[in-house]
């Protein structure tokens, strides 16, 4: 938890942010009605932040709308799934030498005005990756289907046991990363439903992950890509991935040699 209350609705109040090269990664699939507002909010929060929308094979006007709103757009030739789309953004951030990346969804459920809360621990050098959690505070403020909630809780419990640190929201796509975090995810990022595995990966690579409480909004447009039956499939898949992943040798290329 951050111990100071910053007025986080403007980036200008965050010391040290202006010196960093920073980028916002916004994955979007069929979000023509929401993506322009997301870009506008990001710009209002921090005019100096570059904005990259990753269009994951949308069949609507997402790319055109995002371009018109002034974002850079990476248009994937077909749907890669959220993991592949987000990693495209991390690769972009890595290759263009950004010091700080934030990630938030193109459907508008993440409020850019709360980005300050998420960025602050990274700026202070207290964490490599910060995740905005819906449940870190009181557990209020987020409503979704029963199965979905149970799934999120179960995954959070499993992941917490594995990494030895309390993690409350393993499915949040509201994140801030420093250069090390960007480098890790540019190199290796899970597929399909990636945040859970990514959380475990972060700890296995000995990066520091921190959760901060945020509130999320109802989806502004589009449809969630996750239905009930698929949730079960993903759950099994993710659990398999986590457990098999535990038996992988640690792949830390640079730091380990020292």
């Amino acid at each position: 938890m951050s111990d100071t209350i910053v007025d986080a609705s403007r980036a200008a109040t965050l010391p040290g942010l202006a010196e960093l090269r920073r980028v916002a990664i916004v994955p979007a699939l069929n979000e023509e009605h929401a993506v322009a507002a997301v870009v506008a909010e990001l710009r209002a929060f921090d005019p100096g932040m570059d904005i990259v929308v990753v269009d994951d094979g949308s069949v609507d006007r997402t790319s055109a709308v995002a371009t018109a709103s002034g974002a850079r757009v990476l248009r994937l030739p077909f749907n890669l799934g959220i993991g592949g789309a987000v990693q495209t953004g991390f690769r972009y951030a890595y290759e263009h030498g950004y010091d700080l990346a934030v990630r938030l969804d193109g459907d508008g459920q993440h409020d850019a005005r709360q980005l300050g809360i998420v960025i602050e621990p990274v700026l202070r050098g207290e964490a490599d990756i910060v995740v905005g959690s819906r449940f870190a505070a009181t557990g209020q403020g987020y409503r979704s289907s029963r199965t979905r909630r149970i799934g999120i809780r179960l995954l959070a419990w499993v992941v917490s046991r594995i990494v030895g640190q309390r993690v409350t929201d393993t499915t949040s796509g509201f994140q801030a990363l420093n250069r090390e975090g960007i480098a890790l995810f540019a190199r290796d990022y899970p597929h399909d439903y990636p945040e859970v595995e990514a959380t475990v990966m972060v700890f296995r690579h000995r990066l520091r992950l921190r959760e901060v409480p945020v509130s999320m909004r109802e989806r502004a447009g589009g449809r969630s890509s996750i239905t009930a039956l698929r949730s079960i499939y993903y759950m099994v898949k993710v659990l398999l991935a986590i457990f098999v992943g535990l038996f992988r040798r640690n792949v830390v290329p640079q730091e380990d040699s020292s």
Binding site: P77, H191, D192, K237, L240, A241, V244
Partner: protein
Amino acid sequence: MTPLAVSIVGALASFTLVLVVLELVRSRRLRERYALLWLLTGLTLTALSAWRNGLNTIAGWVGVRGYPPAVLFAVGILFILAVLLHYSTVISRLSDQNVVLAQRLALLEEQLVERATSER
């Protein structure tokens, strides 16, 4: 009644399949997405081989008289068919994506050439 040797060999072979699949996933030669069906195959066959009474009962249900292990073959073949069908859908998707990639590449190349000639 199923011969004991058939049960043992069947269970060992199917369980080996499970271990091989897990190792392939661990060493990143097989993605979790494609491993699930194989794991289900291996685990089902392991269970059917090891649970001898169950195999006999199921054989009775489906009208297999005399040689219950025939059910093992039938279930195994069904799973192989499912895996093959799944792969056919995967290959279809891959070739569709390949077409899109090639087209996008051709369009990009044309843009680059166009830009290079206009700058000259």
